[in-house]
């Protein structure tokens, strides 16, 4: 949002509304289309005041587009309103079109001055109109049919060459196969990433809530937990994939992370048991 101030003559400024403008943006969807298709140009203004309508928005120059409709609405909430104006457009000219920003003229309630708020501009790529049917028919007859004939000739030639190369060859005796079994690739036991291992070691050395939270964050990262997912969500969607140690570690870490300070040490001790099982390699595995 850009602000150009002052701009309005004092007499005109008296007719403006006082607003705390928090957001004034413009977007287009889609930004790439053909002539004849439609796009929705959306202008959003979020203000601190409760408004039923916002008439002070000046639309940008929309030459090169034909307007098919315009819809305005304001959603009010406890603190503020979100006013949107959605214009349905169809381009009439091909090429990259830059739609300049919309403007909103108001008294800036924080400074008491008449200002003009300007939204961002958007660039729309307009391709030519869809090709008519007779064009495709001409293309088929003029280009695709000769190409298909050429392809058929090439396929016949390749088949003939393949048959010549697979003609019978003289038999050559091969050496006897070795009786020794083929070497078995040595596979290292799956080990926890060093990050978790190191974090658990740090937690063992210094059992604190901060270190515990770091372990919890790493565990959540490993199983791909989203920000809004709780422990119940993760278990419900089987994020641990049946890994009992990981599941136990996740649960114990979660419980410890929200335990009271007085019980934190005990909770960390309980969490360390499954955590250490998780990060230590299985017995007999090559490390």
């Amino acid at each position: 949002m850009d602000i150009f101030a002052p701009f309005v003559a004092p007499a005109a400024a008296q007719q403006l509304v006082r607003l705390h403008v928090r957001q004034f943006e413009m977007s287009a969807d889609p930004v790439s289309l053909r002539i004849g298709e439609t796009l929705r140009l959306k202008i959003v203004a979020r203000v601190d005041e409760n408004l039923l309508e916002l008439d002070e928005v000046t639309l940008p120059d929309l030459s090169g587009f034909e307007s098919l409709g315009d819809e305005r609405q304001c959603a009010t909430a406890y603190r503020g309103s979100r006013c949107t104006e959605t214009i349905t457009l169809t381009p009439t000219v091909a090429g990259d079109r830059t739609i300049a920003g919309a403007t909103l003229e108001a008294i800036d309630a924080s400074s008491g001055r008449a200002v003009r708020f300007s939204s961002n501009s958007v660039v729309v790529h307009v391709a030519g109109a869809p090709l008519p049917n007779y064009f495709w028919q001409g293309l088929l007859e003029g280009l695709i049919r000769p190409f298909a004939i050429l392809l058929l000739v090439a396929a016949l030639g390749y088949a003939a060459l393949w048959g010549w190369r697979r003609r019978p060859k003289p038999v050559v005796a091969e050496p006897p196969a070795s009786s020794a079994p083929p070497p078995v690739p040595v596979q290292a036991a799956p080990a926890a990433p060093p990050a978790l291992h190191g974090l658990v070691e740090t937690l063992v050395r210094a059992p604190s809530r901060a270190n515990l939270l770091a372990v919890r964050a790493e565990l959540r990262r490993r199983i791909g937990a989203r920000d809004e997912e709780t422990l119940a969500d993760l278990r419900a969607r089987g994020a641990t994939r049946g890994d009992a140690d990981l599941d136990a570690a996740l649960r114990a870490t979660e419980f410890a992370a929200f335990a009271d300070d007085a019980r934190l040490d005990g909770a960390i001790t309980r969490a360390l048991e499954p955590l250490q099982r998780l990060v230590s390699p299985p017995a007999g595995a090559m490390t």
């Binding site: 309103s81 979100r82 809004e228 709780t230 422990l231 009271d260």
Partner: protein, 296 residues
């Protein structure tokens, strides 16, 4: 209670959580879904006094809180206490009474005392109002204003049972009406649980999460006209503590806070007319608002 009510596990859990959290409960659902039975089962399970008031359009405030009558023999006014003086009060079909009766009840719910004439009478402890509402028959009803709905700690939605549950309902209630559980816990037990619930630890990050959940309802929204009050934050915290206690923990988890949010928020939001014209389910809005807040 689960021995009496078939299915509706979530409803029963919400009832018990609200009882422990020390709040009032409103149940909303179509007729015939055991809303009243659930409230009665809760009341009889808690070994305290229980009163039921059927809300009707001709009900008067004095029918709820009580009144003063003139005793001709003694020549003095005496006070007759109303049905609100009970540990568990069932306000059946609360939206069928006019606003002044609702106000009398809801004032008592908030203040936990009733003033009749010159005297003020404290209500017994625990004091829980369980109200039922039917969302389908809107004719002849008086919708509760938002400020009054805010007094209820939770609003629990009661939905239709599944086919298997309905078969079990048929088996259980096809013959003689089964007895309700009586005196499963005492009033003293409930008060002790409340003390334990107050002591459940709520991490500062969880408190912040509860605040963020409520704040999400106040952001400008296409369908929400007005968000929830700070009372909703208190309700979420109290319910989360109760849930943790029922799960045998002395600390709450993000799961407890989020599970408490729908019951604490759904009746505290004011939706605009677009919700009706666009035929949007308000439960979907509440769920989306909650899902959009990152957990701690």
């Amino acid at each position: 209670m689960a021995d009496t009510i078939v299915g509706q596990r979530g409803v029963l859990e919400s009832l018990v959580q609200a009882l422990i959290a020390g709040g009032h409960i409103v149940l909303e659902g179509p007729p015939g879904l055991a809303k009243t039975l659930a409230c009665r089962a809760l009341a009889t399970a808690v070994g305290g006094s229980f009163k039921r008031v059927q809300f009707t359009p001709d009900l008067l405030p004095s029918d709820i809180v009580g009144t003063r009558i003139f005793d001709q023999r003694s020549g003095e006014f005496t006070t007759v206490l109303g049905p609100i003086f009970a540990n568990v009060v069932l306000a059946d079909e609360i939206n069928r009474a006019p606003a002044k009766v609702q106000s009398a009840l809801l004032e008592a719910m908030q203040e936990r005392q009733v003033t009749i004439g010159p005297q003020t009478f404290p209500l017994p402890e625990p004091f829980v109002v369980t109200a039922t509402m039917n969302p389908l028959d809107s004719e002849g009803t008086y919708a509760l204003p938002l400020a009054q709905m805010d007094r209820f700690l939770v609003k629990v939605l009661v939905d239709y049972p599944g086919p298997e549950e309905e078969v079990r309902i048929l088996n259980r209630f096809g013959g003689a009406t089964p007895a309700l559980p009586e005196n499963v816990v005492s009033v003293a037990d409930v008060l002790a649980w409340r003390d334990q619930a107050y002591a459940v630890h709520l991490e500062p990050r969880l408190a912040r999460y509860a605040v963020d959940l409520v704040a999400a309802t106040r952001a400008p929204h296409d369908y929400v006209e007005r968000g929830a009050s700070p009372r909703a934050t208190l309700a979420i915290a109290a319910l989360a503590r109760a849930r943790a206690l029922l799960d045998g923990r002395d600390f709450a988890l993000p799961d407890d806070v989020r599970a408490a949010a729908p019951d604490a928020l759904r009746h505290r939001l004011a939706f605009n007319y677009r919700l009706l014209t666009d035929r949007v389910d308000p439960e979907r809005i509440v769920a989306d608002l909650i899902a959009g807040v990152p957990t701690p």
